[in-house]
């Protein structure tokens, strides 16, 4: 492995910093980059934690320069596009990723916070049940979605994507909130069981296909819905204001962020009981 200079790290207070030593397209399974795993460990012990580099089992120290100690603040930097599963299963602390990161970020996490100062790959927050993920750039497909064959995906927590996201955002989610401030691909909220998906930009085609319950909100342009959705009314949903107020108050979205006002309510998917809803903001306001 040849070494390249990694980006300088800036930390707020004490914490662990992990700087990728080299760029590589070989996938790294780095579920050991998780605050829960760092509790009580110094840099040497952290560097000895296992990761998979392709098929090979290596240590974190083989791939990352490790500095500092403490689980509350973990900063990861360098070329992370092929680094998967950062923060997987985490329950506490904060992980900051400077730059782009690979798939399965924060999958199955139950608490804590992950902030990505860049883009993220597919499966952001898959199966998470608590905590918060903020991706300041774009995210790939299947944000907060259920893995294939799994009946339900996200069961709690919040995912915020500042840019665009791919298809099947929130597919089969059971609870929680996913906000994509940009556009989404097709099948957002497909098979949703409950929870909320907010899309600030253009909502991709066939949203909510097969949804049983839950809420999809289109603040921007929305496609024609599937024929298994029925128009209910135009109204001002008060509960939506609670969400927007909370998001703005917590600084997760800028203020004024997503606009409220009059929304057209569609109920569906009638093929799955019709207890879900798609709210489309009236663009004439």
């Amino acid at each position: 492995m040849g070494c390249i200079a990694c980006a300088a790290l800036v930390l707020d207070g004490a914490g662990v910093t992990l700087a990728r030593k080299e760029s590589s397209s070989i996938p790294v399974e780095a579920d050991s980059i998780c605050p829960d795993r760092f509790v009580g460990l110094g840099p040497t012990e952290i560097a000895a934690l296992p990761v998979y580099y392709g098929r090979r089992k290596v240590t974190l120290g083989d791939l990352f320069e490790v500095e500092g100690a403490g689980a509350a603040n973990v900063t990861v930097s360098g070329d992370l596009k092929a680094v998967k599963k950062i923060g997987q299963g985490m329950s506490m602390g904060r992980v900051t990723v400077t730059g782009d990161v690979g798939p399965h970020l924060g999958a199955s996490m139950t608490g804590g916070e992950i902030v990505v100062q860049g883009n993220a790959g597919d499966w952001v927050g898959a199966h998470m049940s608590g905590g918060r993920i903020v991706v300041q750039g774009d995210a790939g497909h299947f944000v907060g979605a259920a893995y294939s064959g799994e009946p339900r995906g996200v069961r709690g927590g919040t995912i915020i994507v500042g840019g665009n996201a791919g298809r099947e955002v929130g597919a089969r989610m059971r609870r929680g909130l996913i906000v994509v401030l940009g556009d989404t691909g097709e099948f957002a909220g497909a098979g949703m069981l409950a929870g909320s998906v907010f899309v600030g930009g253009r909502l991709g085609g066939r949203p909510g296909a097969g949804m049983k319950r839950g809420t999809i909100v289109a603040f921007g342009e929305a496609p024609e819905l599937l024929p298994t959705f029925r128009y209910a009314c135009s109204y001002r949903p008060v509960f939506l204001r609670c969400y927007l107020q909370s998001l703005e108050a917590s600084g997760l979205i800028a203020s004024p962020g997503l606009p409220d006002g009059e929304f057209r309510r569609y109920v569906g998917d009638m093929n799955s009981g019709g207890r879900g809803e798609v709210l489309i903001r009236d663009q004439s306001q």
């Binding site: 709690g156 109204y235 949903p237 008060v238 509960f239 204001r241 609670c242 107020q245």
Partner: protein, 295 residues
């Protein structure tokens, strides 16, 4: 002790432990929010006949409502947590939910909760939906103007009820002016309400009666029309008495409201400020008037 020539009697108000809740009632505009909150806190002057004591409170400066719309706080006081749940169910269900554009949220960060929205939701006939936001469950109940949003449960805390003071004046005009000035000053105190109409009570009571089965009766020693017939607590020249009763979410809130009210009530025509007590043996909280206004 005198303030502006008004004598502050060397006595104390005796108050009791109660349970308190704080509701945030919102509406499309402040008028509708206030309408709903006032309806919910109507007929809640005295625990004896109304089941609870309640009133409205402006939100603290800078306090945002959960939905960002204009809102009013409604404070409700009962003798037990069980009664609180029953009262909130009735009052939120009958007065807030029925009010156009309204929504109702818990306004207390309390550990103990009573279930309100979690029971009112059944009005939705199966079409109610819930949202879990920041650990708080909100119910969306379909109504004819859209949705009534109500929080699943409301906090309840140990509170103080029955702080009071009397304003004796040479005329009803002077007593009314003093009472209104006092209430205006007291309404600025967060966490305290004056449950009687306009914040003022004229029908003070004593805990006895000459009639069997009647436990309380008119506070005859303070009725000016009975001077000469009954033992009177009024002095020469005193022709009207009005009382202000205060309930608060804390002892400090009641004390601050009483202090502000007494200071504002010392106007021309007012002869004395006094307070009601039972000798100090019944109520846990004692508010000495001179200590309040001396601080």
């Amino acid at each position: 002790m005198h303030i502006n020539g008004v004598k502050i009697e060397d006595t104390f108000a005796e108050a009791f432990g109660m349970w308190g809740s704080r509701l945030i009632v919102t509406g499309d505009d402040l008028g509708w929010a206030r309408t709903a909150a006032e309806a919910a806190t109507g007929f809640a002057t005295s625990i004896i006949g109304c089941g609870c004591e309640a009133g409205t409170n402006d939100l603290a400066p800078g306090e945002l409502t959960p939905d960002g719309r204009p809102g009013v706080a409604a404070l409700v006081f009962t003798t037990s947590r069980k009664n609180m749940e029953a009262q909130l169910l009735q009052r939120v269900g009958q007065a807030v939910m029925t009010s156009a554009t309204s929504a109702c949220y818990d306004g207390l960060a309390a550990e103990e909760k009573v279930k309100v929205g979690g029971k009112l939701r059944y009005f939705g006939d199966g079409f109610q939906r819930s949202k879990l936001l920041d650990g708080r469950r909100l119910w969306r109940v379909p109504v004819m103007d859209g949705e009534f949003v109500v929080e699943e449960s409301f906090g309840v805390v140990q509170a103080v009820g029955g702080g009071n003071f009397f304003m004796m004046a040479d005329s009803l005009t002077a007593a009314l002016a003093a009472a209104q000035a006092a209430v205006a000053a007291m309404r600025a105190v967060p966490g305290a309400i004056m449950p009687f109409p306009g914040g003022v009570v004229r029908s003070g009571s004593k805990v006895s009666s000459r009639y069997k089965g009647q436990h309380v009766s008119s506070n005859t020693p303070y009725c000016p029309t009975l001077r000469g017939q009954e033992d009177s607590a009024l002095r020469e020249g005193e022709n009207a008495v009005l009382e202000i009763v205060v309930d608060g979410l804390s002892e400090a809130a009641v004390a601050e409201a009483m202090r502000a009210g007494i200071a504002a009530a010392c106007l021309p025509g007012v002869t004395r400020i006094s307070a009601g007590n039972y000798g100090g043996s019944l109520g846990r909280f004692h508010f000495a008037l001179r200590e309040l206004v001396g601080t």
